[in-house]
Each structure stands twice: as structure tokens, then as C-alpha cells.
Amino acid sequence: MGKKIGLCVFGVMLSLLLVFPVLGAETIKLGALYNLTGGMSSIDAPALNGAKLQAKLINEKGGLLGKQVEVMGIDTKTDQKAAATGAKKALANNVVAGLGYGDTTFVMAAAPLFQQRGVPFVTSGATHPMLPQWVGDYMFMTPFGDDDQSFAIADYTVKQLGAKNVVVWTDNSMDFTKALSKFYKQRLEELGANVVLEDFFMMGDKDFSAQIARLNSANPKPDAVFISAIPNEAGLTVKQIREAGLTLPIVSGDGFDTELVTTVPGDKLANDVYFSTHTYREDNRPEVLAFVKAYEKEYGRPPENAFAALGYDAVGLIADAIQRAGTTEGKALRDALANTRGFKAVTGEISYTRPSGVPMKGVSIISVHDGKYKVEEVWFPKQ
């Protein structure tokens, strides 16, 4: 009997919690769709933190158009079905704009619904350069496209490192890593360098000795190796290549933008690694310093990765557009977003001047020597 009463009390408490929604005055609502649980959470959770931080700072300064900004965080559980329902939920709550996701496949499940309803959607971290063309004119990207980051590091490999023969390793399980390699090879060819050997691995692989053996015996001798990987494999590949006694430069994209590149191999072995990434790490522009300081104050730890900064920038972009449009109406807001020029984001200046809808944005080339990160140069796209 006691058990039943206990259960009843529990049930009543639960339903009470559910019935009380967050009530408040009229606010400007932004729907933030992120995978806060499941496989993508290490990328998406910091992004939502960044987004909420930006909203808080805006509200402290008096909000937008005299109203407070509310970021409605919706967890989509690394599940596309949840991404679609999450988008519908946000739209049913009359959000003025949507933002979210560090991965293209989830954007493609959610953003078309925003497009249909004429509500702008700004992705904070998905980098496929075709995204705005696939979804439509209400789709905006905060980060650069994969083509830009690949071109940047390819230019650096050939022009600064003087490489003529390059080996390319690709993680064959993800669209992002495949696209990165594709654009990298395309640029190498344009610059007259050769791809000596292509090798593949899968996400989650732990042993790269077979690939290293082939890298070692490649003919002609490679001047650099490009590794298209996400953070988990970034540290491991550097460690195992250096342990095998190979000293050739290792180059990559923003998958290498992680502490794992130095912590896994250790400071001695983390040498001669170069990667292209968002202009954020080791940067000392005032926007960056202010962001890091505010993030530490709010959450008691430094930003986990660049996605935190990108989430912060996504809300910043939308807020800037609302300010300029003077309204939150969908069409006017979209036009204001499309007219963004020289917005000073933490991850670099953003302008939407290209017909492709991918922002014109600088790409940092960062080097690692003896476990120290250093910004070598900032690369800008041509048009």
C-alpha cells in the first residue's frame, strides 16, 4: 500500500512540474536545436552554452527592440526524427529564427521546415558549402565552408611548407571528412602538387600501423601527410606517426582543432602539425578575449571548443540582423541577414557577399611545435 501511495505522490509531483510552463513577458524567441544527448553532444552542448551566453549578454544591455531575447534550447538526441519534431516544436512556438547543429545531416532534417515557413535558420557549426543551395534562401551559415578550409591548408602545404608530394588519409565514415579530402585534392591538383597515395580508415579505429607502413614505403617520398579526421582520431594518428619515427609535416582541417592533438602524443611528439580552423584559438582580437572571459565567468570553465564560439556568433548574427531590420518579421529579417557585411564575430568577420550563401570568412592556419599552438597566418577566400 505504502508503495502505491509513494508512486502516486511521485506522479502528482511530476505532473505539477510539467503543467507549469515557463511564463514570462513578451520575448523574442530563438529556437536553438542541438543534440544535447547522444553522440553529437560534445560538439553541440558547448554551442548551446555559447548561444545562451550571447542572449544573456544582450539582455543585460537591454535586449533587442525593447524586448528580452529568449533562446529556447531543444534537445534532439542525435536523432533525425527528433530533429524534425524539434523544428516543428520551435515553429509552433513562433520563434523568429532558428539556429543550431554542428553537423550537416541534422541541419538537413530541420532547416527545410524553417525554409517552408519563411523563418530564417542559421547553422552554427555545419560546414558543407552546398547547404544554402540545398535548403534555400532562408538558410545561413556561421562557419566557413569545407572548401575554404581545405583550400587554405592546401595553399599552406604547397606554398609555405614547399610540399610537392602529399599522402592523403581520409576517415571514410563521415561526409564531412570525405568532403574535406575531396576539396584538398582538388586544390593540390590546381597548384601542381601530386597525391602520392590515398589511404582510408574508419571512425573509431585505434591502430594505424598498416597506414603508417604504407606511408613509410610510399614512392616518391611524401613531403607531407594530410589527415582528414575528427578529434578522436586526430591525437592518435599524430602519436602513432611520430612514434614510428616519421617526421614529415602532418596537416589537417578543423577536426584537429582540439587539445587531443597535444595531450595524446605528449608535448615532445606533437611537432610539425599544421591545421586550418576557425579564427579563434590563440587569437587576441578583443571580441575573442571578451568572449572567453564571459564564458569562464558564466560556466566556470574556458570554452570547450570552437563550437561554443560559433553558437555565440550565431545568436550574435541574428541579433545584429534584428537590430538592423527593426522588426522580427521573417522576410525583413532574412533580407537583413543576407545584407550582413563585416559583422565582427568571435570566429572572424562575416559577410554574405557570395551567391553561394557561404560567408566570406578568414581561416586560421595554426601550427603545433613542441605542444605549443601558434597562429601562422589567416587565409582569406578570393571572392
Binding site: 511530476l14 512540474l17 510539467l18 507549469f20 510552463p21 515557463v22 544535447l36 544527448t37 529556447m72 534550447g73 531543444i74 534537445d75 538526441k77 536523432d79 533525425q80 526524427k81 530533429a83 524534425a84 519534431t85 516543428k88 516544436k89 515553429l91 509552433a92 550537416t104 545531416t105 538537413m108 532534417a109 527545410p112 521546415l113 558543407h128 540545398w134 571514410n172 565514415s173 563521415m174 561526409d175 570525405k178
Partner: protein, 329 residues
């Protein structure tokens, strides 16, 4: 009680369902509608998995594999020709083919069913956990195949921008059909053979039941409905990738069947409703407390409690009394 009374009850239930669909379509917002759609699709999945896992006692984890096949086939067939050429390199006969939703769904289901037949022939010689592992292997093969067959499936990126055909007027008839077929099967002599195989296959064989054939039929019927559900799913989300139909999904469907009561159609139905709605009910709680993931924890807790206090599931293997002519198991 007589069969006529029974028929009357079923007709009333179906009409009430139609009334419900008409009512919600004109009242609630899109978000709630999409949840109801997913509930319907989950019912199709759970009730069809119940045919293999429940009636025949074949523990299969391959359901999402069949969904993936049905989903992709349906998507190829309904994809507008103009967009096909933009995305995919298909053989010309397929590239110029654009079918209405209904035939596409049927073909998707039939393809899934045929795959079920193909897989079933070798795999159904296994039993118990061996069969579970083999069907798991099938699921992984399907995923790897879709991931790497890039010219047709676009690899890990998947297909997107599918026409949003699926709505409740599509989902509801399929729910009714799945439940109807499942019901007719359970209370036919063929269903009796299935249940006898589950209870004791040696005894069933002694009575002249063709074990192998009956098992294959159970798997193929389940696979057909899974394929249709996959097609409905794809055109509801309007995007489909190799990871859409994962092992986690397989477990979700199995949980629905187990909670409802393995072998009970009503149970699978209710289990699907409970588990699809619960995750959404906890959403406001998660958002207001900023404690994401708590819904999953509570769901798992509820599952554990059900398994401790009612291991046979909500309905056991039976149907509720007012629905059955006599007290049938």
C-alpha cells in the same frame, strides 16, 4: 458473445480512430501532429515486430534494416525527377521514374519483404540469441552498404528534400491494416502454428507444423510492414541517412513490444503509444530545468519498474477481454 458483436466493436473502434484523426488535424499545431504521426508509425513497427518476436518467438533486431530498405526504395521512387539528376547518378530507367506515394510505399514494402525472405532462408535456421546476433549482423550490413554505395545513396549524407507526403490520412490506414492483418493472423490456424512454435517447437513439429516455412512467413510479413513504415518515416522527416535506422531504434521497438506484452497486439499498440509519447512529455521538464537527458533516465526507470513488477508486460500474451470472442491467449 458472438462474432457479430465483435465485428461491431472493431468497426466502432475504426470509426472512432477516423474521428480522432479528423479532430486532431483541425485543432492541434504541427508539432503535436508530427508527434501523433510518429506514434502511428511506431505502432506499425511494434505491431509488425510483434508478429516475429511475439507470436513466433523469433528474437529479431533487424527491423530498422527493413525500414531502411523500404525508406530508401520509396524515396528513390517518389523523388522528383528534376532533383534526382541534381543529386544522384542513377541508371536512366530509375532516374526518369517518379511514382505517386502509394505505389512507391507498396514497392518499398515488397522490397523489404523480399529482403526478409532472402535473409530468412539462411538465418532462420538459427534460434534464440544466435538469431538475434544474426539479425543484428543484417542490420549492420544494410547500414554499411548504404553508406558506401555512394553513386546511388549519396553515402553518409543521405537523401534530403523528399516531398513531405506523410500525414495522418496516410499513417492511419496503415495502422489499421497492420493491426487487422496481425489480428487475423493471430486468430487463424496459421497464427496458432506460430504460437505453438514459440511455446515448444518440437511439439509443434510433431503435430505437423512446418517450422521453417512458418518462421519465414512471420519474418517476411513483419519485414513488409517495416518497409512501409520506413517509407512513411522518410516522407515525414523528409530526409533519410544511413544512420537514421540504427541499433538504438531496434531496441526502442523491442522495448515497446516487451512493455506491452510479447505476443499481445493490444500490448504492442499501447507500448508504442506510451513510449513515443513519454519522451515528448518529459521535454518541457527537461527544458524548464535545463537538465537535458532526464527524460531518457526516467524512461529507463519506468522500463526497469515494469520489468520488475510485471515481467510479462502490460497485457502478457493476451488481448483485453472485451475484444476477444472467447478468452483466447
Amino acid at each position: 458473445m458472438n462474432p457479430n458483436r465483435n465485428r461491431l466493436i472493431f468497426m466502432t473502434l475504426i470509426l472512432m480512430g477516423i474521428g480522432f484523426v479528423a479532430l486532431v488535424r483541425s485543432t492541434v499545431d504541427e508539432y503535436v501532429l508530427s508527434i501523433i504521426n510518429f506514434v502511428g508509425i511506431n505502432i506499425v513497427l511494434a505491431v509488425s515486430l510483434n508478429i516475429t518476436n511475439g507470436f513466433t518467438g523469433l528474437f529479431s533486431l533487424g527491423h530498422p534494416g527493413f525500414m531502411a530498405i523500404g525508406g530508401y526504395v520509396t524515396a528513390f521512387l517518389t523523388f522528383p525527377v528534376a532533383r534526382k539528376s541534381m543529386f544522384l547518378e542513377l541508371p536512366p530507367w530509375l532516374a526518369n521514374l517518379e511514382l505517386p506515394f502509394f505505389p512507391a510505399l507498396l514497392i518499398g514494402g515488397v522490397c523489404a519483404g523480399l529482403t526478409g525472405l532472402l535473409v530468412g532462408l539462411p538465418v532462420l535456421r538459427l534460434r534464440g540469441h544466435y538469431l538475434a546476433v544474426a539479425t543484428l549482423g543484417f542490420l549492420i550490413i544494410v547500414q554499411v552498404l548504404i553508406t558506401n554505395w555512394e553513386s546511388v545513396t549519396r553515402g553518409p549524407l543521405g537523401l534530403n528534400g523528399l516531398p513531405a507526403f506523410t500525414n495522418l490520412w496516410w499513417v492511419y490506414p496503415w495502422v489499421v491494416l497492420t493491426v487487422y492483418v496481425s489480428w487475423k493472423l493471430k486468430f487463424s490456424s496459421y497464427g496458432r502454428s506460430m504460437i505453438s512454435i514459440r511455446e515448444d517447437d518440437t511439439a509443434a513439429q510433431c503435430l505437423g507444423v512446418n517450422l521453417f516455412q512458418t518462421r519465414v512467413v512471420a519474418l517476411v510479413v513483419g519485414a513488409f510492414f517495416a518497409g512501409v513504415a520506413g517509407g512513411l518515416w522518410a516522407h515525414l522527416v523528409t530526409a533519410i541517412t544511413p544512420t537514421s535506422f540504427s541499433l538504438i531504434m531496434a531496441f526502442h521497438i523491442v522495448v515497446m513490444v516487451v512493455v506491452g506484452g510479447t505476443g499481445s497486439i493490444t500490448g504492442a499498440f499501447i507500448g508504442a503509444v506510451i513510449f513515443s509519447v513519454l519522451t515528448e512529455i518529459f521535454r518541457p521538464l527537461e527544458e524548464s530545468l535545463d537538465a537535458y537527458g532526464i527524460g531518457e533516465v526516467l524512461m529507463a526507470l519506468i522500463l526497469i519498474l515494469i520489468l520488475i513488477f510485471r515481467p510479462q508486460g502490460l497485457f502478457g500474451s493476451r488481448e483485453p477481454g472485451f475484444l476477444s470472442v472467447r478468452d483466447r491467449s
